[in-house]
């Protein structure tokens, strides 16, 4: 029993320990290797880091609840791109010409609605056909990306609204707008997963679907809600990011699903469902962004980031398995 508690503590603390290690490593290595004058742990640098974590971070938080539920969503990158296009394009629609700056909330709502609908389509297919979520979202990843390209061809969609840019670049209490959205989503999802019936049922379904069904939990609607949530979050992430940049390429958001899954797995959430935590995913997101920034800081190229993150992901999987074997005395098959 005591052993089990210790294992759980190690697992929960691991990602934060890793973040501390990264901070220490890059600070020390940076003082020898970096060409930049400022220290790595500079306040502005850290604030920027949080802001840059937001796009993938918001999606990764949504991916956490999908994976706790025992599913996976590969279509988030395409949803992200489509929502971004809807947001930027709708600002120029003649229907909204008379609205002035009130077009901003309208186009945000349209973008978020796009995300919810795309998520609902995924959820409905998974629910009603019984096809595995991996296959369903693999298909819709292609399909949604096709819609992105059909919308505006290979041209970028651009629309800069300076009111919106000011909003996206604003800092409140030192934190950027994007960071506030990341934190708000984290708190919101933490509440949903830990304090509501839906959250409890989502854990139960991911842990043992048959038992959940026998306990009278309706599996389908819960999966559907989670898919709508992640669609909403992918769209929110796009809305926040493209409010500032104002231009979206049809290829944007590619491989986001892989980054999001990497962050979630680094945070210790199981692919098989039933366990995982929102807070740890936040840790995973920050750890990845630290690694990107840190490697850049000590002068390593972007190519090393891919290499290092890939190997870390595999190492985490290996360590996690070792911990589990010791905890359970698993049958060797």
């Amino acid at each position: 029993m005591q052993n089990e508690t210790r294992t759980r503590l190690i697992k929960k603390g691991a990602i934060w320990g890793f973040i501390l290690f990264e901070l220490a490593f890059f600070s020390i290595a940076g003082s020898y290797l970096s060409l930049s004058e400022s220290a790595f742990m500079d306040v502005d640098n850290m604030l920027l880091l949080l802001k840059q974590s937001a796009p993938i971070g918001i999606i990764a938080l949504g991916m956490t609840i999908i994976m706790i539920n025992g599913n996976i969503d590969l279509s988030v990158g395409a949803t992200y791109a489509l929502a971004a296009i809807v947001m930027l394009d709708s600002m120029t629609w003649p229907v909204f010409a008379g609205l002035g700056d009130w077009v901003i909330p309208v186009s945000w709502i349209l973008a978020l609605l796009t995300g919810v609908v795309l998520g609902a389509v995924n959820g409905l297919i998974v629910w009603k056909t019984g096809v595995d979520a991996f296959i369903v979202t693999l298909g819709s990843m292609l399909g949604y990306r096709g819609l992105v390209f059909m919308y505006n061809g290979e041209e970028p969609t651009s629309q800069l609204n300076w009111t919106l840019v000011d909003f996206a670049e604003a800092q409140f209490l030192g934190l950027h707008t994007a960071t506030w959205f990341l934190l708000a989503v984290a708190i919101g999802l933490w509440f949903v997963m830990n304090r509501t019936v839906h959250g409890r049922n989502a854990y139960a379904i991911g842990d043992n679907r048959e038992a959940a069904v026998n306990a009278g939990i309706r599996v389908g609607p819960h999966m559907m809600i989670n898919f709508m949530l992640i669609g909403f979050l992918a769209a929110l992430s796009a809305a926040v990011f493209y409010s500032e940049s104002g231009s979206v390429n049809p290829n944007d958001g590619e491989l986001f699903e892989l980054w999001a899954i990497t962050a979630v797995v680094l945070g210790g959430t199981k692919l098989t469902g039933g366990s995982g935590s929102i807070v740890s995913t936040l840790g995973g997101v920050i750890a990845i962004q630290l690694l990107r920034k840190g490697l850049g800081y000590i002068g390593a190229g972007t190519e090393t980031v891919n290499l290092v993150i890939g190997l870390i992901l595999i190492a985490v999987l290996f360590l996690d398995r070792q911990l589990n074997i010791k905890a359970k005395g698993e049958l060797k098959v």
Binding site: L74, I125, W127, K128, T129, G130, V131, D132, F134, I135, V136, L138, G139, S140, M141, L142, G143, Y144, R145, G146, L147, F149, M150, V213, R218, V219, G220, M223, E254, L258, I261, T262, V265, L271, G301, T302, E303, T304, V305, N306, L307, V308, I309, G310, L311, I312, L313, I314, L317, F318, R321, V333
Partner: protein, 325 residues
Amino acid sequence: MAGGFTKSDIGGLLAKQGILIAFVIFMIGFTVANERFLAPENIMGVVRSSAILGVMALGVTFVVISGNLDLSVGSMMSFSTIVVLDLHDKIGPELAIPAMFAMTLCLGAFIGFLVGYLKLNSLIVTLGMLSAIHGLTLTYSGGKNMDIANKGETWFAVFGQGSFLGIPVPILIFGLLAALLGMVLGKTPFGRKVYAVGGNGVAATFSGIPRARVVFTCYLLSSLCVATAGLIQASRSMGSQNTVGQGLELEVLAAVILGGASLLGGSGTIFKTIIGVLILGFIQNGLLLVGLQFYAQYVVTWVIIILAVWLDIAAKRGRLLSPIA
């Protein structure tokens, strides 16, 4: 194993041959819509451009039947393309090709070791390797495009651009490899072990089948196919970007699933995978010929993948909608 008979014979037929029926319907539909569709040069063109995807799908079929996934084939293909192009100018094609095969097989062996012997989750391992191999490729090339200096003076182009007895070499390679791997999967003890490991890993272990070694070999075969695909790609274009294979892993997987292999392992054949590859190729071509814009094929592919898998499992469980409450 595949199939499983249901109440009605029609359901059983649909479950076993549904993909073949869909393929025939598609071909007829496109032929009616545009008479050029069935012209020999068009068919040859489609098969030829599907060859690279097809060669990779052959290897992934083994991996999927053994109950695992391989998401790293796309970035691995970029790696082998870049390596062989780079080495071509440095040590000549005779040495560059075996060197590239050796390096790619090492990557496959590493993944096979992690998934087979260390029993790590194949989705995460190959996801990590997707990223890691991409980093490796960029480190190797320094982020630059690779080009062969004297394109006219080398016989290297034969793999991608040559033809033998009127058949383009990529199709020949695809056909030969498919025949070979089809034999291995369907007619040898090793092939039966692959099905056993994917069908029920625990039972296979208790029957004395070395699960780890079988999975390891599947990944080795997959990387062999990837290296072959990289060779064709390099030889066809004689120059390449670092991201040439990006996203191919999911298209390959789509083809394999379309062919009816279950992601849970234990079912699928080389023949069905070839049908899956050809369906993807002909849909793309057919939609272009009937005048739809290029990207519409993505949406159509989406619908087809979902329908194919849905009808497959619907026939197996004997009802259309899932029993999920």
